[in-house]
Symmetry: C4
Subunit: 200 residues, 4 copies
C-alpha cells in the first residue's frame, strides 16, 4: 500500500521533467535565450517537484498514525494519488501560460490542483480520525488536534492563492511557493528519525 | 511478483496524465474555454484512473487466495498487465474523439479494452481455481463460487457497454462509469483490513 | 537490486504504450480505418511487452543462482537494463516503418536491439559462472551447462532474424515472435513455484 | 526511503528513451541515414543512463554509512533526486544541439546539470558527516576522509567540462564521459558484495 503510493509519487515527480521542452522548436531564438525565457517552466518544475516530495514525507508520517488499512481508506488514498497525478499536467499549463494573456487561468488551475490535493488530504485524515480501527490507539488527542490544524492550514492558503490568481498569476505562484516553504520546514522538523534497513 | 504488478499498475495510472493536453495548442480559444471543452478528457482520466485503482485493490485481494505462484500464472498475470497498460492509449482516444464523428469507434475501443481486462481477470482466476497447488487450501468452496460470480459480472456489463457504443459513445461511457461504481463499492466493503508495516 | 531492476523492466513495459498513437492525426481516415492500419504497432507492442515480461521472469530465475552481488555484476546488470530500455524506442520505429520502404532497416534495428539484449544476458551469465563468490555453490554443473545453452540459443536466432530483415521486415518480425514463443514456453515450465508473501 | 529514491532513479533512467526519436519525421533522409546522423542522441543516452546507474550504486553505498534518517536528510536527498530528474531534459537538449550552432550552450547545460548533481551529493554528504545521529558510529575517520575526497572529485571535473563547453561541445561531452568512466570503475571496485534475498 505504502509502496504503491510511493511509486505514484515518485513517478509523478519524474514525469514533471516532460514539462521542460526544447525552447528552440518553432522559434528563432538561440538555445541560451530560449532557456532564459523558459524560467517559469523551471520555477514551476521546482515548486511541483518539492510539493510532491513534501507530500510523500507527510504520507509516511501519516502511516505512523495508522493501525489498520481498510477499503474506504484505500479509495480515499486513491483520490489523493489522483490529485497528485494531475500536477504534471497543471505544471506544464502554468509553465506555458504564466507570461501570456492566460496567466490568470493557468495560475487558477495550478493553485486549484493544490487545493484539490489539500482537500483530499483532509478527507483522508477526517476518515482516519473517525474510525478507531484505522487510527492507531497510541495516538494522543493532542497529536490528532495538532495534525488536524496542520491539514486545515493548506486549503486555507491555497484558496488565497486561487483568489489571487484573478489579479496576478505571478503573485498566485508566489503564495504557492510560500505555502511550500512552510510545509517543507514543518516536514523537516517533525519527521521522526528512522533507522535505515542497513543499520537495523 | 506483487511488487512488479503494483509497479505496472502505478505507472499506467500516472501515465494517464499524458492524455491531458494543453487545449490552446493549434486553437484560438482561451485557456479557460479550452479546458471546459476538454471535459471528456477529464472524465475519461477519472474513470481510467479509478478503474486501475480498483484493479489494484482486487489484485491484492486475489493474492490472499494464492498459495504458490508458477510460470503459467506469471504469464496470465502478464496478460492482465498488458491489458491494463493499453488503458492510457484508449483513454486518450476516447478523450479526443468523444465529441467527434468517431465517438462510437472510440467508445468501442475504450469499453473493448475494459472487456479485454475483464477477460484476462477471468482467465487468471480460472487458472487459479483449477490448480490446487496455486490456490490456497484455506479458501472455501463458497468463497470460490462468490469470487467467480464477481469476475463474470465484469465482462457481461462491458459487453453491454461495447454494444451501446454502436448507438452512442456517451451512453457507453456512462455504463463503464456505472460498472466502476459497483466495483469500487464492492472493493471498499470486501477489502480486508490490514495492519500497516509501521504498526506491526 | 532486484527491486531496482524490476522497476526498470516494469517501467519499460508500460512506456511501450506511448508507441501507440491516435491514427487520425494528420490523416483523413476514420478512427476505425486508422486503427486497422496500425496493426504493426499493436503487433510490435505485444511482442515487446511479452519479451520484457519473459526477461523479467528469467531475471528472477537468475537470482536463484546468485549468492553475492558485487560491483561488476551491478554494471553488467545495468548494461542489460540499458538494452531493455531501448526497446520502447525500437518498437515505435518498427511500428511506424514496417509497412514503408524503410521496413528492412526498422526490422534490423528491432531485432538488433533484441540481439543486444541477448548478448547482455550472456555477458552477465558468463561473469556469474566465472566468479564462484557470485554464483551460489548449490548450483550443479548440469544446471550451469543447461542455462548456458539456453542463453546461447537467443543470440543465435536473433542473428537469423537480423539477417532476414535484409530480405523482409515482416519475416524478421515473425522470427522474433517465434523466439519469444519458445522462451515464453520455457519460462512457463521452468519457473519454480514460489510461495506468496501472503501465505508464508 | 531507499525504495522511493530507487524508484526515481529507475524512472529517470527509463525516461531517457523518450529522448530518442524517429529521425525520419520532418526529414527526407532514409531511416538508416537518419539513425546514423542521430549518433549524439545515442551517445548522450548511454552517458546519462550509466551516470544515473552509478549514482544509484553510490546511493546504496552511502546508505551503509547512515544510521538514522531525519527530515533535513530527506529534503537534501530530494534535492539530489530533483537534480537527477533534470537529466532526461538536458540529455535531449545535448542530443538535438550537439551538431548545431548551439552546441556550446547545450553542452554547458548538460555538464551544468551534472555539476548540480555533484554539488547535491556534496551537500547531502556534508550534512551526514556533521550530524553524528545520522552517520553510523561504525564509520571510521579514514572512511569519511576518503568518501569526502571522492565526492569533491566530481564537481571539480564537471567545472572543467563546463568551461570546456565554451570552446567545444564535443570536448565537454568527452570530459563528462571520462568522469563517468572513473566513477564507474570506482563504483565497481568499492561496491561491497551483498548476499541476495534469495540466498539468505
Amino acid at each position: 500500500m505504502e509502496a504503491f503510493s510511493d511509486g505514484v509519487f515518485a513517478f509523478a515527480m519524474t514525469l514533471l521533467v516532460l514539462g521542460l521542452r526544447d525552447p528552440t522548436i518553432g522559434s528563432t531564438n538561440s538555445l541560451f535565450q530560449g532557456l532564459l525565457g523558459e524560467w517559469p517552466a523551471f520555477l514551476a518544475f521546482g515548486i511541483s517537484f518539492t510539493t510532491i516530495l513534501v507530500m510523500w514525507m507527510n504520507h509516511h508520517n501519516l502511516f505512523t498514525y495508522i493501525w489498520r488499512i481498510d477499503g474506504p481508506f484505500m479509495l480515499l488514498n486513491g483520490l489523493l494519488l489522483l490529485s497528485a497525478t494531475l500536477i504534471p499536467f497543471t505544471t506544464s499549463l502554468v509553465s506555458d501560460h504564466l507570461l501570456s494573456a492566460d496567466s490568470g487561468t493557468a495560475a487558477q488551475v495550478y493553485s486549484g490542483t493544490f487545493l484539490f490535493v489539500a482537500l483530499a488530504w483532509n478527507l483522508l485524515w477526517q476518515y482516519v480520525i473517525r474510525h478507531p480501527g484505522v487510527l492507531a490507539s497510541t495516538v494522543s488527542r493532542d497529536e490528532i488536534a495538532r495534525t488536524t490544524r496542520q491539514f486545515i492550514f493548506g486549503p486555507t492558503l491555497y484558496i488565497v492563492s486561487f483568489v489571487a490568481a484573478f489579479f496576478s498569476g505571478i503573485v498566485s505562484l508566489a503564495i504557492v511557493l510560500v505555502v511550500l516553504a512552510i510545509y517543507a520546514y514543518y516536514a523537516a522538523i517533525t519527521t521522526i528519525g528512522r533507522r535505515t534497513t542497513e543499520s537495523i
